[in-house]
């Protein structure tokens, strides 16, 4: 038997030492106030991957792993793991002596329950990440054996506290996880304990004195403030009321200005696992976007470079396929696909519409629709205003609709009461984790956020997606994803706009906040504030 074995404890210590390797010694104590924007609908990271939840919940819940900035696995609740030769059995050795914030011990039963009963059932991406997991055996309290139907190497990239938070079985068992008290009163094993959530103002987490990493966290408290107004957020950063704002909390225009000031820095680190993509979702079951031609025309009529330059101040890269160019490292990205111009091609768009027999009425209008927008800030509103202007010349007349986060999520993902929706998705480190959920028929899951809201269903594509998920050979896998991208560039149930580059703005006194590949979605256990 040839096991790929890897002992975590030593590496963990090494990782800690590396983190501590910076020139100054860490100061313990202090409160970190950071921006959480917008206010999260709940703190149930096991139910929703909505961005603001990710800014808070991973500080409370641990995953089996964390990841360093080069995407290497760093042990968290799992001390080590083993993958069998055939790739169908993955054994996790769990950390002993870890307790939940309420004092109950953490065991393998929690892992089994979390994956089988929660993540596989109600998490937006869990059914994909754990699609091959048939059962989990718990031979003892600190061993969890995942039995897979097929090898699933991508699963090991989806075990962070953000992506797959381990939740307490004793508090959720026998309840519907969708309606549990845990959503607003989370209990985890993480570095910080949930203390208080004052609606409309802040969420406060206090240091977990019994955290399993000795001597950590350094901070006594972290407070996530909700500041709805963008310029107020910038002002709060400037006068040090807050020290950290990620995921565009500080608008790019101000980030660029703060970057040039003393005492503040801007980084694009901490987003390597996220791979964000701005995009348009269409309701493919309703007129007018039930025809592929009109969706293609939308893609052709949008000037992606204009969006990046004028709304995101140069941070971003035009999308050229269903997959981000970041997947070229693994050979999965396919270049040279049609319908993805960097600059608008109005003539081509009109030609597509004319060829499909979508003609203009007396006012030059071919289709009318309401555009919904992700309510995550001013930039998106500008993008919506731009879209309205950009689609008018090809005869698509849009009305804009702005709603708050819960209403919008319900409209798009539960009621399907939308026609065209501007949004962004995380493509994550593997397409199985981040991209399949857009397109698979099995991802039409009413009520689950950030999945196939287009209700696009194509058996040929489903077969390719299934093959792509299981294929171990890199060349074959690349070919499969090539075909997938070709189909999607024609059908376009989702039109990708541009690969986003998020900015994190921080006060220079804040140290070691980017030690995890998850950045702002990381556990923040090693963050400290210089006096």
């Amino acid at each position: 038997m040839n096991f790929r074995t890897w002992v975590g404890a030593a590496l963990c210590a090494a990782g800690l030492a590396a983190g501590a390797g910076s020139a100054t010694a860490q100061t313990a104590g202090g409160t970190l106030v950071y921006i959480v924007q917008p206010e999260p609908p709940s703190l149930a990271s096991f139910l929703s991957t909505s961005g603001p939840i990710g800014l808070v919940a991973p500080k409370i819940y641990d995953g089996l792993f964390d990841y360093d900035n080069d995407l290497n696995i760093v042990p968290a609740l799992a001390e080590s793991y083993e993958v069998s030769d055939d790739g169908k059995t993955v054994t996790f050795k769990l950390r002993e002596g870890v307790t939940w914030h309420d004092g109950a011990p953490f065991t393998s039963a929690d892992v089994q329950f979390t994956v089988m009963e929660v993540l596989k059932k109600v998490h937006p991406r869990g059914p994909n990440s754990f699609r091959e997991v048939m059962s989990i055996d718990t031979p003892d309290d600190y061993t969890a054996v995942f039995n897979l139907e097929n090898p699933a190497p991508y699963m090991l990239r989806a075990l962070s506290g953000y992506e797959s938070p381990i939740v307490p079985k004793h508090l959720l068992e026998g309840q519907d996880p969708r309606n549990s008290d845990l959503a607003t009163n989370p209990v985890g094993t993480g570095a910080y304990k949930f203390t208080e959530w004052r609606k409309g103002q802040y969420v406060r987490l206090d240091k977990n004195e019994n955290y399993w990493k000795d001597g950590l966290p350094y901070l006594d408290r972290i407070v996530g403030r909700f500041i709805p107004d963008a310029s107020t957020r910038t002002a709060a950063m400037e006068n040090s009321e807050v020290m950290y704002g990620a995921y565009g909390a500080i608008p790019n225009i101000d980030a660029v200005r703060l970057r040039d000031m003393d005492g503040f820095s801007v980084t694009t680190d901490g987003y390597s696992m996220i791979n964000p993509m701005a995009l348009i979702e269409f309701n493919t079951k309703e007129s007018p976007f039930d025809q592929a031609a009109i969706r293609q025309a939308v893609s052709l009529a949008i000037d992606r470079e204009f969006l990046i330059e004028n709304i995101w101040f140069g941070y971003g890269k035009p999308a050229t396929s269903a997959l981000s160019t970041n997947f070229s490292a693994t050979g999965l990205y396919k270049a040279g696909l049609p319908n993805y111009p960097a600059n608008a091609d109005v003539d081509a768009a009109i030609k597509v519409l004319e060829d499909a027999g979508i003609t203009a009425d007396g006012d030059g209008v071919r289709a009318r629709a309401v555009l919904d927008l992700i309510p995550y800030g001013e930039d998106w509103r500008r993008a919506g205003e731009y879209m309205k202007q950009a689609l008018a010349p090809i005869g698509i007349e849009l009305d804009l609709r702005y709603e708050d986060v819960p209403t919008w999520l319900k409209r798009v993902y539960a009621d399907y009461d939308f026609q065209i929706n501007v949004n962004y998705f995380y493509q994550l480190p593997d397409p199985v984790l981040g991209v399949h959920r857009h397109y698979g028929s099995d991802q039409i899951r009413q009520g689950t956020h950030f999945v196939n809201s287009s209700r696009y269903s194509n058996p040929e594509l489903d077969a390719l997606l299934a093959a792509g998920a299981q294929e171990a050979d890199a060349a074959k896998r690349s070919e499969i994803y090539g075909q997938i991208q070709e189909i999607l560039a024609e059908d376009m149930p989702v039109v990708n706009l541009f690969e986003m580059q998020f900015l994190t703005v921080y006060n220079d006194k804040l140290k070691d906040h980017a030690t995890s590949a998850l950045g702002a979605y990381g556990p923040f256990e090693r963050v400290w504030i210089e006096e």
Partner: protein, 276 residues
């Protein structure tokens, strides 16, 4: 004309009227001077005033600030007038009924009015618009709902004082119907203060609309000054012109309406006729 003479004695009021007329003309001719949709991406984004063919500069998407101001004038005046008309109408009905009949009806209507008055008006307007979804109708309704109580109280006071006057009693003796007395006899005698409060209310309505649009609760499909300021405020330090000019437009309009209102007060209020 006596009214004009009295009005023109207040020089501020005349200046206000001139500004107001200019703004109305601007709103009426917006389509002539700026035939394009004010949301259209007219050219180079973030152009300073006077450059790239933008009189007052362009915003982050290259929309013409001057076109936005001209078209926004239409929105602001329209919403101001409509909301005021609705508020004045509701206010007169409530106030007239309460003042004329007194007693139980008065009690009921005035408690209702007070209920509305105790809620801070701007916050109430935000709430209403958020519930009804931002659109021009919901904004007009919201502004009217928060504005009518002032009119109702005023009209009630006037009716209370007028209903026992001899000319009203004479009407009663002549057998006139209540409705006719209210509309034909009392109301014309208390219109002056209503006109004054109504004109000032237009200014408040414009401010509320701008405030709502600034907070992102304006109708996203209609250009307004508040929207321009809201969209430009993140750029304040790098493109001052995007918010500044619409801000000046709001300032001038509200000031002009207030001056005109003041002038009307002088002209219509007999007690102030001797004021210089």
């Amino acid at each position: 004309m006596a009214f004009w003479k009295l009005f023109a004695r207040n020089r501020g009021a005349v200046i206000g009227l001139v500004i107001l007329v200019l703004i109305t003309v601007m709103a009426a001719t917006a389509g002539l001077f700026f035939p394009q949709d004010p949301f259209s991406l007219a050219g180079q984004p973030m152009s300073p005033p006077g450059e790239n063919g933008f009189l007052l500069g362009s915003d982050s998407l290259g929309r013409d600030v001057a076109a936005g101001i001209a078209h926004g004038a239409k929105t602001s005046l329209l919403i101001g007038l409509l909301a005021t008309l609705v508020a004045v109408f509701v206010g007169i009905v409530m106030g007239a009924l309460a003042g004329y009949y007194g007693g139980f009806i008065d009690n009921l209507l005035m408690r209702l009015t007070e209920m509305f008055q105790t809620i801070p008006s701007f916050i109430f307007a935000i709430l209403l618009v958020a519930i009804m979804k931002p659109s021009i109708e919901s904004i007009v309704i919201a502004i009217a709902v928060v504005s009518w109580p002032a009119v109702a109280r005023l009209v009630r006071g006037e009716f209370l004082s007028l209903r026992n006057r001899e000319f009203v009693q004479a009407c009663h003796t002549l057998g006139m119907s209540d409705l006719r007395i209210m509309l034909g006899e009392i109301l014309p005698n208390c219109l002056s203060p209503v006109i004054v409060i109504g004109s000032l209310m237009v200014a408040t309505a414009i401010l509320i609309e701008s405030g709502l649009a600034f907070l992102g609760l304006g109708d996203p499909n209609i250009m307004s000054w508040g929207f321009q300021i809201g969209a430009g405020r993140t750029l304040l330090r790098s493109a001052w012109w995007v918010c500044t000019f619409p801000g000046i437009a709001i300032l001038l309009t509200v000031l002009a309406i207030n001056l005109v209102g003041e002038g009307m007060n002088d002209a219509l209020n007999p007690r102030l006729r001797e004021r210089s």
